[in-house]
Symmetry: D2
Subunit: 377 residues, 4 copies
Amino acid sequence: MQRQSDRPPIKVGILGATGTVGQRFITLLSVHPWFTIHALGASSRSAGKPYAQAVNWKQIAYMPSAVKDMVVQECVPEPFAECAIVFSGLDADVAGDIEAAFRSADLAVFSNAKNFRRDPHVPLVVPLVNPSHLSILRQQQALHSPPLEKGFIVTNANCSTTAHVIPLHALEAEFGPIDTLMVTTLQAISGAGYPGVPSLDILDNVVPYISGEEEKLEWETRKILGGISDIDSSEGGRVLQEFDMHAQTPLKISASCNRVPVTVGHMMNVSVKFSRRPPPSPQQVSEALQAYRSEAQLQGCPSAPVQTITVHDEPDRPQPRMDRAHQDGAGVNVGRVRQCPVLDIKFVVLADNVSIGAATSSIINAEVAVLKGIVAS
Amino acid sequence: MQRQSDRPPIKVGILGATGTVGQRFITLLSVHPWFTIHALGASSRSAGKPYAQAVNWKQIAYMPSAVKDMVVQECVPEPFAECAIVFSGLDADVAGDIEAAFRSADLAVFSNAKNFRRDPHVPLVVPLVNPSHLSILRQQQALHSPPLEKGFIVTNANCSTTAHVIPLHALEAEFGPIDTLMVTTLQAISGAGYPGVPSLDILDNVVPYISGEEEKLEWETRKILGGISDIDSSEGGRVLQEFDMHAQTPLKISASCNRVPVTVGHMMNVSVKFSRRPPPSPQQVSEALQAYRSEAQLQGCPSAPVQTITVHDEPDRPQPRMDRAHQDGAGVNVGRVRQCPVLDIKFVVLADNVSIGAATSSIINAEVAVLKGIVAS
Amino acid sequence: MQRQSDRPPIKVGILGATGTVGQRFITLLSVHPWFTIHALGASSRSAGKPYAQAVNWKQIAYMPSAVKDMVVQECVPEPFAECAIVFSGLDADVAGDIEAAFRSADLAVFSNAKNFRRDPHVPLVVPLVNPSHLSILRQQQALHSPPLEKGFIVTNANCSTTAHVIPLHALEAEFGPIDTLMVTTLQAISGAGYPGVPSLDILDNVVPYISGEEEKLEWETRKILGGISDIDSSEGGRVLQEFDMHAQTPLKISASCNRVPVTVGHMMNVSVKFSRRPPPSPQQVSEALQAYRSEAQLQGCPSAPVQTITVHDEPDRPQPRMDRAHQDGAGVNVGRVRQCPVLDIKFVVLADNVSIGAATSSIINAEVAVLKGIVAS
Amino acid sequence: MQRQSDRPPIKVGILGATGTVGQRFITLLSVHPWFTIHALGASSRSAGKPYAQAVNWKQIAYMPSAVKDMVVQECVPEPFAECAIVFSGLDADVAGDIEAAFRSADLAVFSNAKNFRRDPHVPLVVPLVNPSHLSILRQQQALHSPPLEKGFIVTNANCSTTAHVIPLHALEAEFGPIDTLMVTTLQAISGAGYPGVPSLDILDNVVPYISGEEEKLEWETRKILGGISDIDSSEGGRVLQEFDMHAQTPLKISASCNRVPVTVGHMMNVSVKFSRRPPPSPQQVSEALQAYRSEAQLQGCPSAPVQTITVHDEPDRPQPRMDRAHQDGAGVNVGRVRQCPVLDIKFVVLADNVSIGAATSSIINAEVAVLKGIVAS
């Protein structure tokens, strides 16, 4: 493989640059080996100001000096015209129109927003799981009116979805389809952004409800773990592709979502039933998870974790405060792999919801796209 | 019904009086309409001291003045001889021998400890669920060597077991047997006593493991929700009774237990499958839970909650900090009753683990025993 | 004294009824022995709706059934015309104009907002300290254009000010003027209302800054602990009164304010130097604090605490979680009374910021005004 | 200066290796550029076991592989005979005898324990403040019976003392003696070790008391900020040296200590009065703090922070969660530098109590000693 540090830097833009996810993009991209921040976009309230004046910086890492004086732009395509990649940390209430406009302007958008996740032509990619879904992008470009050369939208998943599909995919890769999935989440407050969860709602408390989260978890999991099928288009026999939503072996999922007073780190109690009889043993499951290598890491994505899934042997791990930060939060942690008296196997998953659960996933997706030649670099 | 306040006070003793559960017993019993605290027992380190000097008082309620000068006794039967009831808040490492000795001395023991919960002759009673199990006590007394007249041991359940069996029993009473149960708990730190959970283990953290808890939850649930069957004893054809562990319709249970940074209030995410087809609807489940009346309340136990199960309509309730304290923590809360895509129905349960989950249950058990004439009053 | 329960109920209104303080007013007033809730006012967004639909109820106590169906009014005087007392829990950004309009309509306003606290004709009354300042109300009415018969504005203090002026006043009452005061606060999140402090700002964190709080603490303390002086008005020799701001013995104050992750209960580390030499001993200070009786309690205000200041002997008390709730949060707690190596005496104060620190103070102020005949009842 | 990486590695031992501070020593020393871990000592319960089996590892950093199989030794000098430096993280109840025995065996001990801090011949060194106090070591060795060649004890300060003496020393270096100091601390739970503070004592709570802490803070500050004076020994006119405890310009100190629910990071509200009139302005104080360079850093200690004191301009900083981790917690943070209405200047200090407040200080002390030639390297 060509040494990546020899590449000329790839110019990238960030939409929603003053928000929580946008700040995370800046933190990560300011030290990225390939990408260089070229343009920052935010609401018209911020546009025209130097970034340092526009933002209420909430990252623990200090603000990178390179962006302090960058003038924030309106979220319109022109100032981003030179960007090979545009990362979007926009809020859902505006992401739809803006991201569509950027795509129409033939820009490559990697979005953390939920707006296009259910679009039949937009891949929903967890980079340690299904970068193969990027193959739908040609169709997305072809069906656009007018057809696009470079523009597209790639989405990454909800933070809690991302956490559990990584071990689930590793298990399906080794043991075949999962038939049933029960998952109960204990999600960190940072998953709700800033200001997000009022402290009076969560101190000395847990909240057994996150609006829309259970539906997202159930739906997104099927799209990500599913495949891509050819279909005969009604429009003149042209062969089209569609996401099959795990349809070949239907996947029953029940998700229950809770907010807990943890700053960072979503934890999930997962129980699965496999299609195969007999199912794998806990020992086999542990070994398969620990041995799993993501395509992103094998191909050389610099932000992909070396150890995709870290399996813990101690009975009381993983824990958010102890395990979230390893590998800069780019991998996931699994522990307590054991028999489930109702389904087959149960275990605990922990992932850093602001890293692999959000900005880091978008960035690895872009890295994969660069390596696959999908974006001009 | 006879007005209970006309009774002469019933003398009660408290074992483990300086511990967390013991302090709770004192707080509750010091204002009880029937019972009067007659003797306090603790370790030999405390024995001989006035209670106020022996204890590290950790209740929010101030120490009742009536106990401040009571001299703490060793945990031996003699000083408790006049007690019609002995409540035990002893730690498991000593509860076994001491409670057995008290029973042998013909004393009636209501224990919060786990030691005798699995004993085939000892009832495990959640007072809002299965006070009918107290009927086994005659056999417990008869089989003792020598047979006992007044002495026995009654146990109450683990705090998390108590929380969910109340709605589960209400559902079985209305809709017949439950076939499958998946439960994930978010348990408060007070469940581990004092000093209990080190703050460094739980601040900005959750711990996906509580030693022995999942086994207790699975086992105790079956004993409590099960019935009592007659068996032919091998010893000369005498008919004996045994707990059937829900054997007539086997109950599959999978429990996952987590510790969360909440002071008081265990929350559980519960999903159930009924034997009956079609299963009841969420609406029917909600109504049955809200309508459930416990035998303890109907019979007039003064510590039993008027509303056994409070069903919440708001999508984000119950929550520990908001809902634990109503009815002095003697009832349970249920919310988010909805379809489960894998089993039939899922919902959230919240209970005050130090009230109905511990001392309050022991006390209502004793109240039931008084009303049934099982203890001399 | 006339038995208060024989009074006909006094109609009261609540402005800002859907906010945090307004909800607290409703909770307290719905069970008040003298007052009956007659009208609720909120923003035009809420006006016209039944209260239960207009409010996002955030109290632990369930919503009183008496207010659920009350139709919320605009904050204009007409619907409150029959109210002998109007409590204001309005936000500062609207409280100024609305409260002034209510006063002009000859209504008696007891406000928790800060807008009029610095007005030279408006008393700033902590009811356990300086109800004598209500005497300025005649002047406030007389100077109004046109003069008022019944209308006026009374304010109560900031929640942290309220906490420490109670023991400070008790000390001045016994030992004469305080010369110097250093105070460092650890303030609960509920002091910021709802949604208030974002959880990401305070979980596993403390914030050494609360906007405007140190100035309020320094300024309000002087007004409350100071007296009322006669001055010759420049307008024709008429004798007027003014608050002397503790001017006769100037009081140096330095306040440092911190936000801490506590739901309810402001704690302060206080150090004082007295004018008198030698200063009182810690023992004398403890005794004076414990013995202090407020005029409000002595006169028979039903919401005034029986024990104004509870002095703790244990070295580690008071603590918010353990001590805030006693007497429904209407008193204050003091502990760790000891020598200060720099000033004279230092000690710790704890007060329930949402009870005596807010709504409870307004209500006791109104009770005092009723007993003094200042409001028609 | 000689490039330090060219040195042969210096063998070091760690006493109390399984405790909280010991684990921190291991984490830091396992990647130290000069030191190599040669021996680990713990109680006889752990001795003889491989470290990985003896320890309950509680660091977020994974256990360094280099120590996993090291056999834990008893805390006796023999197995440490080859160590040029012995770090002690022992608990105070055993540190006195063990550290004395190591010194008698001619070993150089750098201790985090409090036992010898008040010894008139033992320097109490905060490495960013008073490494000059190491000069007393010759006297400590000479007065030992028999006199020592290489053995000595150096202590570092209590974690809260360490936090504030750094800016205080910087101020004295620039503006001359401080006359009066008032300090109120908000201390993290990690300051109490593990298991340390029970979670039930600190969740939704603050505790206004830490046993012995205020005395330590007041006493240690004087020793560290004071100088060393010559005294005529009564024993034959020999000139001895003693710590003058800031005696030339007596320093009045009043400390109030609170425990808060923060994992790591002690925050202090500090107010000072200078001897010089007029005192420096807040601006001058800020500039002096920001400009301060420690001798340890100037001399090239690899663990010393580049920026000793980071002065924050934002009104609400520093905060524990946001600012504790910069420079690996080796520096301190100051903010809110402003006028004090009672003394001269007040400000907020934040320091990582487990880094510069504990193990990191011991290690920099040892680095200074190496650079000064006090320990053989």
